[in-house]
Symmetry: C2
Subunit: 362 residues, 2 copies
């Protein structure tokens, strides 16, 4: 396998945009990535689209050629990848693989989701389809509330620690002009938030957003994929042996570190999948940033920069866009000289899909 | 790129099965393919799932790990591919690529769809999402009726020729114990069918079915992928320069022939995407089996065996299963000594995605 670089990146603002659809959002991100990479659409050999639930949110499927055509990429292989909230992390993984293996020399990966045109209840129903609908029969906040309670019971993780993650990510997002909710919050506000699914309050939950992100991959470039792995696990929480863990994340991190020839301690900063604050806390443990059970204290300590973009919590979470958006944000931090070795961690559902990517500047 | 073989195949009966869901259908097909390949789930390195509209038909998304877990394949990369009716052809293409490039030595590709639990009107709505919903605003029979009318007007293709394709595919399907509708029909019956979208009658349209198919791929085996290509085109019929053509099919066929080092004339038999009889007729032209405009006469002539499985018309068309089912049926015919060189042609929507695969016995 040869080295793969991120030649260009692009993204839209994340937010609620009544005048934007899947096609226009993706078009903006792809055009920006192509311009950043200084390549033309005619040079692109394959198009990888990550999208979670376009058919349910917008009534349109067959989205890969639908978007590719609008981006001037008609004709080439155009494929939609769906693995819940990890859809575009998975698309990125497959695209990386094809370039690394020498199949293609130039590909575009785009993640996109349009969510804010649906009423809140319907959004909740669509998101719940990423869990095991028959066995779990719960909303995503309810599922992650069970995970949070298990972690609190076993390890003494506190609501204050979760709220501190929210405060931190809102502080970071306030500084990100692309973020959906640019609003600083206090610990008191976070703790006093409306209960969504006990123990999770409004401030423990990520946002419902529209947005897109794109990257151009090639066997060159200064920002490189040093390690990457995709893993899977059971979709249902019912019957899971240990609710405090996200084992697919741990396994994908180990594999990505091995490929990169690095240890967890070498990672200088990360964009992690904080769909709920408890998910960021458990990610700290699964990524090996701290011992098991100490994720709450570790995340609150800000020992290393996590979600400098604002994370899903403040930057926003257009589900299918998130995986590629994390890559774009890690690359941005590498380019800005905010570190030499960063990581992106993209989670599907309650942990049934995980993609971990280690990125570095060479 | 190294040679890739189909080590094992499996499929379910196609039909309407009230007691079967996506998970159980896929499980049956995957178990059969693994048994046929004489490999265990623990040996499988990645899982590729083709599924068009599981979330819309069944209310469940995140289907790749959902199905993988049930097949004993939890842990490995599990990815869902969606490209409308070409979903599992596209999944197969990506899986082939990974094995050919040396990324994996053993992978499973499964295609599955559960459709018959929804009322007919809702099925029509879901299928229409594979077209450009905003620009075309038509059902799939209406879209293909426009294509049929254009072909009749330009080339003098007749309703008798389309009906003859239906009669042939029903005759073949009658002999296939896995087919959904095992019923011989006469030319008179086909011509007298209820009009669905003029000039298409009931007998010009493929079936709404439940079903799954699976293959095991490895860098070995007697049945080999000799050539394969995936291409794309505009999703909307509106604005298409020539309704009588499916240009993505022609381009993918050319590429697949070039890779295989064969000409159209060398292909001894084929499974083609007869979602409507006119689609089989145009496929004859795009695959280079006959000159442009002569597809109607060629298909009616039965000059070479096409859709010996019964095709989508009689075998059935569980949308996401179709691409892999075609591969399974071509491999079956190779194994049965019905030829040395066969082809599978899988179409997405009204031609926005195409995958053509040339398979041979070595």
């Amino acid at each position: 396998m040869r080295a793969v670089g991120i030649l260009g990146t692009g993204k839209t603002l994340f937010g609620a945009f009544a005048d934007q659809g899947i096609r226009s959002l993706a078009q903006t991100a792809v055009a920006a990535a192509l311009a950043d990479a200084a390549v033309t659409p005619a040079q692109v050999e394959a198009f990888y689209l990550g999208n979670f639930a376009g058919p349910s949110f917008t009534g349109q499927s067959h989205l890969a050629p639908y978007v590719a055509g609008a981006c001037g990429l008609a004709g080439i292989p155009a494929t939609r990848f769906e693995d819940a909230c990890a859809s575009s992390g998975v698309a990125f993984h497959h695209a990386w693989q094809a370039v690394a293996a020498g199949v293609y020399d130039l590909v575009v990966v785009c993640g996109v989701e349009k969510m804010t045109n649906q009423p809140t209840d319907r959004v909740g129903e669509i998101l719940a389809m990423a869990g095991d609908v028959e066995q779990d029969r719960q909303t995503f906040p309810e599922l992650f509330a069970r995970i949070a309670r298990a972690h609190m019971d076993r390890y003494g993780t506190t609501r204050e620690q979760m709220a501190t993650v929210a405060v931190k990510n809102h502080r970071h997002g306030f500084a990100n002009p692309y973020a959906h909710l640019r609003k600083r919050i206090t610990l008191e506000q976070a703790l006093a938030g409306r209960v969504i699914a006990d123990p999770l309050t409004l401030y423990d939950c990520s946002l419902v957003s529209d947005g897109a992100a794109a990257v151009v991959l090639a066997p060159e470039g200064r920002c490189r994929v040093l390690g990457i792995a995709q893993t899977s696990d059971a979709v249902a929480l019912a019957g899971k042996p240990d609710l405090t863990r996200l084992p697919a994340v741990g396994r994908s991190a180990e594999k990505a570190y091995r490929m990169a020839g690095v240890a967890a301690a070498d990672i200088q900063f990360a964009e992690v999948h904080d769909c709920f604050t408890i998910a960021e806390i458990i990610a700290m443990e699964e990524l090996g940033f701290c011992p098991r059970g100490e994720g709450g204290a570790y995340a609150a300590s800000e020992a290393r920069p996590i979600n400098r973009s604002g994370g899903l919590k403040s930057k926003g979470h257009p589900v299918g866009a998130t995986g590629v958006a994390q890559i774009v944000d890690v690359v941005g931090q590498l380019r800005d000289g905010l570190g030499e070795l960063g990581l992106a961690q993209n989670l599907g559902g309650t942990g049934a899909t995980s993609v971990v990517t280690v990125l570095g500047r060479v």
